[in-house]
Symmetry: D2
């Protein structure tokens, strides 16, 4: 059991996949800030990336600037930050019940690197942990979370317990997270700021990401037995098991 836990030495990237060109308009950033604030206060080195501040090329490509047809592409710069970090948190707004186009684009680009390996010959994202922050004004948080967390898990991230947090209003049009008025009426508290459930889940997410990242770092990531493309046949493996036994 760990005591006097400290998270100094851990690095986290919060990637905000809002579709708003002007980042000061992103409500998702407000909830991201609360999650990031916890990590910073606990010694984690936090970097914020606002995806639309970058020109990100479409394609199952690593670098649009070097692959044909050549395209302006800032993704390699973002990828470098992500590879340096122990924790990746993707923030997304909800539109029509699903994650944003920008989040979809970011995940495609992460996926394009998913064949890379670490020095144990595991996929390169092994040993990292992932989470999501979601805001919308009425519906879709769990759907977005399952979609994004699965993508992260599938490329090698570990998903600790309750690694998603969100704010949503009641069914129908309504204020967005942080709005101070709605239909001309002042709100006592910006929308969602005092939602206990959102605050609790955001706290759980931040801590579980830190706990899991530290545990994995202290363990040197995952042992490489049974989980490398080059070595799985040398470990006990599925090919050698009798499916009809039992």
């Amino acid at each position: 059991m760990m005591s006097e836990q400290t998270f100094t030495g851990l690095q986290a990237v919060f990637l905000n996949c809002s579709i708003k060109a002007d980042k000061s308009q992103s409500r998702t950033q407000l909830l991201i800030n609360r999650a990031a604030g916890i990590m910073e206060a606990e010694g984690v080195s936090v970097e914020h990336v606002y995806a639309l501040d970058y020109d990100i090329a479409f394609g199952m490509i690593k670098d649009g600037a070097t692959e044909e047809p050549k395209q302006k592409d800032d993704w390699p710069e973002i990828q470098k930050k992500i590879m340096a970090a122990d924790i990746l948190v993707i923030g997304t707004p909800i539109w029509l019940g699903v994650k944003s186009s920008v989040a979809t684009l970011a995940i495609e680009r992460l996926y394009a690197y998913s064949g890379d390996h670490n020095d144990k010959d595991q996929y390169a994202y092994y040993g990292k942990v992932g989470g999501v922050v979601i805001t919308g004004n009425e519906d879709g948080a769990k759907h977005c979370a399952m979609d994004i967390l699965y993508a992260l898990s599938h490329i090698g991230y570990t998903i600790p317990p309750q690694a998603d947090c969100a704010w949503l209003g009641e069914a129908g049009p309504g204020p967005s997270y942080g709005d101070t008025e709605w239909k001309g009426k002042k709100l006592d508290v910006p929308a969602g700021y005092d939602n206990e459930f959102t605050n609790r889940n955001t706290t759980f997410m931040a801590w579980n990401l830190m706990h899991a990242a530290k545990m994995l770092k202290d363990n040197g990531g995952y042992p490489s037995k049974g989980n490398t493309t080059s070595g799985w046949r040398h470990a006990m493996n599925a090919e050698d098991q009798n499916p009809e036994y039992r």
Copy 2:
């Protein structure tokens, strides 16, 4: 780094959520057996549960036999096995692109217990790890995986890297996993048995579940700072962070 890894002392439950009343007809069981075979060979104590061998009541209830209206309900017996285990693997067939009704029912029943706490006052599933085994004859494995893995994560399970494995055939009707003939023609190898991708992913899943379960067990699960209903406000928390900072 661990060496001479041994998994003796770990327990795993494989819960097959096939919709076939006769378990000998379940193709999902065949792929489950391969994953389970790896774990057993590595010292894990494995228990197989075929959901439809039990009478499982519908409802967001813990025990149909004691809640009104009273219903015959074997779920508490299954729940006991799951709570005793470090690893839970849910197996499901795919119908119309989604997980089975039986898998949906099993997850509802797991969810009904999600308010229970462990001795650190965390949610009771904390410290356990989860995975999925999926078979279908053409489409839907990732969709089923994201749905089930998210549910497990949301109630407290940890999802290690690449915790899903599946077999699927080409688009359209075709043989199911393990079929030895199709449209009257003998197949050289039972369908899917020699699919390298399926065998590799099944191997990765089995090992990553074992690695993560052992790591968590050796660490005494997750530290309880910041992730308990009773204590999150006493740790650095979201309520105290300024969302507008940055």
Copy 3:
């Protein structure tokens, strides 16, 4: 353009897939009643089916009572009602962000009949229209709607515009649709009853289902050119098109 529209002669089934054994406890029924009320007032013959009032067998089977292994199975009785109706509305609560186990089971059973044909040799559900009514206390309506509406569309139902309606509360635990108090406080209006968005969407859904059902009935369903298993190769078809043209 139709004038003096009348819907007499149309039949609708509302299938409530709540997981509550006691139907008087279903909140989904309350919203279903509003949609059904509109149809009844406009002359549609409405039948309500509460799924858990029946013993429905698991399996990709038409009739559990006659297929091996024999099981008690009331589904054939429900199927008869559905086949007699022009409109099918599936009601589901949301649990963990997804449709209920009972809804999943009902769809599996509908799917088991999807190979049947009508007298034009089209799939038997052709010419019918489908919709969904969803209630939950915070999240998941669009996800459930897409899942259910797709299943209906895939087996042959037509989905008119905005064929889903729902009520959801704000993120976190909260009252369910129709609750008259929450955490000991009386609510001025039962939860959701005065939600304009929910009432509007419920109205749109009811009318669009009626408009589409009548239009299809007046047209004798879909012409059978190009959409029958036996005849598609005799119409202009995909096999004969050059994929590389353009």
Copy 4:
């Protein structure tokens, strides 16, 4: 019942949301061409739009060129084509089990116009019909279809029966639709070209879109009773129904 059916006068847009900058590399286009070929042969006026041939701005905006912050934006030109057409078919590849970023972006932009009205004061997409064409090399077609078809339905499109078609290979890496070799081996037929299921479903989709579009056009779209923002309270409506009746 219609006889001597003719589809002259109908217009269709096929919107290819491939993520490949070079459209000649898109495999989705090959399957689109088969669906489009059927419609053209039957007299429908078909327009192909390759999304990445255009600069499409991110944002819940109608025109990036006129809204702040100003952005280059060709979407209004695409929107004009879509509004002129009776049929919209969205084509998408599958990446990590979900629809492409480009498809997500296109749907967000369609959604930004969803508050517009037609001359009956219904939402502007009422009376149009929608479908999807999907290609991937192993998994995810139904998931993409439900996501896209739901989005179309939610903004006002009608979804006729079986409005999705797809090609997928067996689980694991494999040839893409139209590939003529795989791992150095020549294929007898380009991958998927002779898949009967894909060809049949593509045929069904094309015909059902034409049948439904013609039926709606002949009926002058949907009657506007009960489905307009301005008028729903003047028709029989949900607000006036007693939810507790029954």
